[in-house]
């Protein structure tokens, strides 16, 4: 199904609900290999639901229909020297395929890139939504203004719900000016633990770090680990702040400075987890941890299956690649204790067999089931996507 209007989405959902016919809900379907396979014979795609519906650069807001490709939004913003704040990853390097993500897909999965550590996640910038429930009822939450606490925040509930609580039809985001320039420091550190300490020092400095990642040994021709720290601002500020950060971080290892071009390329690779993309048969996980818990988790995963690693968000986000096996998944689950994990990409058999997200406490799961029953009583929206 390719509805081209919100009314068509609603009609399709009403019919599907009446027939109790489950639907796979997607935009361009770039992330079909994420989380669990959906048990549905038919697909409802929002990809015909496109177009920017409102853009007010001086008010820092943009609205677009859910199927609008991200590059189209980025281009419109770039024309006014603005950008998406959370720097969402491009799914193509990791998932293959030719199509870019849609706005609905990025919001539905709450995907954020390196800038998340400083400026918030995609969920922090969703100001308003229009959506359709699993019964085909259109509703709005939030609005088009930057501050709004009117009523329950259903924007946050649907963001990151992977299409299981409603079909997003239009989304309003807060946007920000693009910094005049950016630059980075690359720091050779002996190991992950030292790298995370260096990143913590950078993020704990007053110098406005907007990216803090760690490339463990093995990528490119490197030995040891490479800690990366980014600053985005007015040119004199970037210069000054990188100088000061070089002093702050000098004690952790040898510091090199990357110019804007090198910095932009490197951070795009980090954003898209490119270093982990090479082996499509492997599974990829994302772990969210308190940064100081990351080194032990990485060590455990290295010992369990020689995990390939990439750390972002100052060590708080650990990308892991390894064999698509239950044993590897069990090791990830253990390593993520105290934090969270998601089986981000894997062959279908593995994704179908395992909990791809941490289990919820029974009382919370019960609330979740009741909320699901409110928004999708027939259970037709992406059944099985998040949990069995």
């Amino acid at each position: 199904m390719l509805p081209a209007t919100e009314e068509e989405v609603a009609a399709a959902l009403r019919a599907a609900a009446a027939a109790r016919e489950p639907l796979a809900v997607e935009g361009h379907g770039t992330k079909r290999a994420m989380l669990r396979p959906v048990q549905a014979a038919r697909t409802l795609s929002t990809r015909a639901l496109t177009g920017i519906t409102l853009y007010r650069p001086t008010e820092l807001v943009i609205s677009a229909r859910a199927g609008t490709p991200i590059p189209e939004i980025e281009a419109a913003l770039a024309a006014h020297n603005q950008q998406l704040i959370a720097e969402p990853p491009d799914p193509r390097p990791l998932f293959g395929g030719d199509l870019p993500a849609t706005l609905g897909g990025v919001v539905g999965a709450n995907l954020s890139g390196p800038r998340r550590i400083a400026w918030g996640a995609t969920r922090d910038h969703v100001l308003g939504i229009r959506a359709v429930t699993g019964e085909g009822e259109v509703f709005r939450s939030g609005g088009r203004v930057l501050k709004n606490v009117t009523g329950l925040d259903l924007c946050k509930l649907l963001t990151g719900a992977h299409g299981t609580l409603g079909v997003l039809t239009e989304i309003t985001l807060k946007v920000l000016p693009r910094a005049e320039t950016s630059g980075s420091l690359a720091l050779r550190v002996p190991d992950i633990a030292a790298g995370v300490r260096a990143l913590s020092a950078a993020l704990g400095s007053p110098f406005g770090v907007s990216g803090a990642a760690l490339l463990p040994a093995g990528f490119g021709a490197l030995t040891g680990c490479l800690a990366l720290v980014r600053v985005e601002d007015l040119a004199p500020s970037v210069r000054y702040r990188l100088d000061r950060l070089s002093e702050t971080l000098g004690g952790f290892g040898e510091v090199a400075r990357l110019d804007e071009a090198a910095s932009v390329a490197l951070w795009r690779a980090v954003r898209d987890a490119e270093p982990l993309a090479a082996a499509p048969e492997e599974a990829v996980w994302r772990l969210s941890l308190a940064p100081s818990a990351a080194p032990a988790a990485c060590a455990a995963l290295g010992a369990a299956f020689g995990a390939k690693l990439l750390l972002d968000w100052g060590g708080g986000l650990v990308w892991v690649a390894g064999p698509a096996t239950e044993a590897a998944h069990a090791a990830v689950t253990r390593a993520a204790a105290g934090g969270a994990f998601a089986l981000f990409r894997a062959p279908e058999a593995l994704r179908a067999a395992l909990p791809v997200l941490p289990e919820e406490a029974p009382a919370l799961a019960a609330i979740g089931a009741r909320v699901k029953a409110v928004l999708d009583p027939a259970g037709i929206l992406n059944p099985g996507r998040m949990r069995a």
């Binding site: 709450n110 009822e137 501050k147 329950l152 925040d153 007053p206």
Partner: protein, 479 residues
């Protein structure tokens, strides 16, 4: 006046037994029943509304909160959670048949972790208390409501409070990592943790700003940020509201995002100047306070750029702070704005709508017209960067007619905010105050959907009943 629901007669009749039961569940000093000790809890920051509660309990731990909720749930007793009681929308207003659960004794800072940049605090820790605990190390908790000396983090979470610096740092929702949350059944849930973006549905996001409708927060994990090297403010005054609005748009459009961008209209400038003697330009129609952060040189550079932008709009005066002290002087009037208006009018209502910033001149013109029509003065302060407007409507609480008019005036302003594409409340919450206006912003179906989500947490509608959702329907569902 806003109506409160009929108390449940059968609960009122059981009051002595309920007090005795509560006294068995909690240490003796944690249960309050005597009228004279209940009095301080009868109202909150919206002091035009008063109601004595059935009882007040002051638990010291999550377990005690859970025990009280389990008991109230089992006995069909309503509960009203309360932090410091500074809500300006009557969010913490008691009900005659409700037990107020006050969190102020849960005021411990449980953990500070600077390498991972978070703190775990109990719900009754004040907003400023978090920053105080970490400022010696150069860190702070970003959201800074003007009530920060008194208001508590649990109340901030439930109101999703903002502050003067949220243009850069975001509101409460953007600065949280986790919660300990007790359901009406008394189940203790851990939401999120010390990590970013917990897996599964965004319960943290849904609970934040839910005004005590979904459960009680007992512990909060907040993000800590490193303080900037320094900050400095400037002031720019203009001959017309329109032109000041254009200057705001030009600053944002230029790509500079100041940490704060505040707007005051003429009545507000006058009130603040009389109060604070901050040296504000009394001839101006509108004034901006703009603050930037960074090293001295960075502050100079940004202030210079902003000064050049403002200069294009023929400001009647500009003043760039040259020191932290001069900055404080510029802020002094603004920070005291509510108190200042309190001095020139016996009472005032503080409204809190948000509008698209481009609509400011039109909205201020309409507010001026309404002010003449209602015969009540109004002063406007505005978080200009994010569109959050605070009209302060002056009235005389001793005159019921004046109060009635002030409420009607306020409602008209909020309807106007929605009309121009904004919303009823930017940071103070719906509470009882704006409850009956919810239908202006939402359709009946949308409100029912929100009610159904509340029911998923609180099927018996015992939590903070009569707030947020228009009453008649709420009662119907509760019955």
């Amino acid at each position: 006046m806003i109506r409160l629901p009929e108390p449940k007669a059968e609960i009122l009749a059981r009051r002595p037994a309920i007090l005795a039961d509560l006294a068995r569940l909690l240490p003796g000093d944690a249960v309050i029943g005597e009228p004279i000790r209940l009095k301080p809890y009868e109202t909150d920051g919206l002091s035009a509304y008063r109601q004595m509660p059935l009882a007040v309990v002051l638990p010291r731990s999550t377990e005690e909160v859970a025990a009280v909720l389990r008991y109230c749930h089992a006995n069909g007793i309503r509960v009203v959670p309360r932090g410091a009681g500074t809500s300006l929308s009557g969010g913490a207003l008691p009900l005659a048949d409700a037990v107020v659960i006050g969190l102020m004794r849960m005021n411990r800072i449980l953990e500070v972790n600077l390498p991972d940049r978070y703190a775990v605090v109990e719900a009754g820790v004040t907003n400023i208390g978090i920053t105080r605990a970490v400022e010696a190390e150069g860190f702070f908790y970003a959201p800074d409501p003007s009530s920060q000396l008194a208001c508590m983090i649990g109340g901030n979470v439930m109101m999703n409070s903002g502050g003067a610096h949220c243009l850069k740092y975001g509101v409460t929702a953007n600065n949280l990592l986790g919660l300990t949350f007790v359901t009406i059944e008394g189940e203790v849930l851990r939401i999120g943790g010390a990590h970013l973006d917990a897996a599964g549905y965004d319960w943290l996001g849904l609970i934040t700003g839910s005004e005590g409708q979904l459960g009680i927060v007992t512990e909060v994990t907040v993000r800590l940020l490193r303080s900037p090297e320094g900050a400095r403010a400037m002031l720019a005054a203009f001959d017309s509201v329109e032109v000041a609005g254009q200057a705001v748009a030009a600053i944002i459009g230029s790509g500079i995002i100041p940490v704060a961008l505040e707007f005051m209209d003429k009545p507000c400038i006058h009130a603040c100047e009389a109060f604070a003697h901050a040296g504000y330009p009394l001839d101006a129609e509108a004034m901006l306070i703009i603050e930037v952060e960074g090293s001295e040189a960075e502050q100079d550079m940004q202030l210079g750029m902003i000064r050049d932008i403002c200069a294009r709009f023929s400001p009647s005066s500009m003043k760039l702070a040259e020191s932290a002290e001069q900055s404080l002087a510029i802020w002094k009037g603004r920070k005291g704005a509510f108190g200042a208006v309190g001095r020139i009018s016996p009472d005032y209502l503080c409204m809190d709508g948000t509008i698209p910033t481009g609509a400011l001149p039109f909205v201020l013109k309409r507010i001026g017209e309404m002010s003449a029509q209602y015969g009540l003065g109004v002063a406007n302060v505005f978080h200009a960067g994010d569109g959050n407007l605070h009209p302060l409507i002056m009235f005389d609480a001793n005159d019921p007619e004046s109060f009635r008019k002030a409420e009607a005036f306020g409602a008209d302003i909020l309807k106007l905010c929605v009309e121009v594409g904004g919303c009823l409340t930017g940071e103070h919450g719906v509470g009882v105050e704006k409850r009956d206006l919810m239908g202006v912003q939402f359709t009946a179906a949308e409100l029912d959907l929100q009610r159904a989500i509340k029911s998923a947490f609180d099927p018996g509608w015992l939590l903070n009943t009569a707030k947020v959702f228009p009453l008649t329907d709420g009662e119907r569902r509760a019955a």
